[in-house]
Amino acid sequence: MAENKATIVVFSGDMDKIFAAFSIATGAAAAGMDTTLFFTFWGIKAIQKGNLTGKGLMGKMLGLMNRGGLGRLGPSRFNFGGLGRWMFKKMMTEKGVTPLEELRQTLIDLDVHFLACKMSMDVMEIKREDLIDEVEDVVGVAKFVKEASDSAIQLFI
């Protein structure tokens, strides 16, 4: 039975796709839907505090090259080693688009649930304390399936 719920998998760590995910989640939560964002793989960057992560050599290298935090996300196209990110941010600021940080805070204010994928965190050597405090839980796929199975909206971004 589809309930008044929305469940979105945030797989991508690209700035533009995070924008899409956050905007849709805002709309769903604003419409009174019980909304959950399930962050996995690159998407975890969007809920990281932004400190360096990793335990072993490869984990630390990954933590350096794929450093988390909303401010470090680049667009999926035309990033040009960071120039694209700068350009997009400038264009969005000029047009009055809400920054990702503010959008994430809006989601928190609207009681959107943030869940993080345990498996991705293990692989990438990201610890719970590397994530922002608002993350409700670190979970597995069964939790996502349960939430998604009775949601009227399910998306994979």
């Binding site: 709309g27 939560a29 604003a30 419409a31 009174g32 009055g96 809400t98 204010d109 609207l110």
Partner: protein, 78 residues
């Protein structure tokens, strides 16, 4: 439009999805029967505000062109 307004929300300069996010937050704090005036200049609001009302069970009373922006009237019924 001759509508008695209980509260005004200034969303001028805000882009999607913020007018709707603020609309939801503001209406939450209002009493049933009260009317909110949303002032917005984002073109998306023409479709978004009535759609939000329909989905949440609140009443969309109409819109009014105020020159640089539009006024949207929402009555809390849900």
């Amino acid at each position: 439009m001759d509508i008695k307004v209980d509260k005004v929300q200034n969303s001028i300069g805000q882009m999607c999805p913020m007018p709707i996010a603020f609309l939801a937050k503001t209406v939450r704090k209002m009493e049933v029967g009260q009317v909110l005036e949303v002032q917005a200049d984002d073109d998306g609001a023409h479709a978004d505000i009535p759609a939000w009302c329909e989905q949440t069970g609140n009443e969309f009373l109409g819109e009014e062109n105020a020159g640089d922006f539009f006024r949207y009237f929402v009555k809390k019924t849900g």
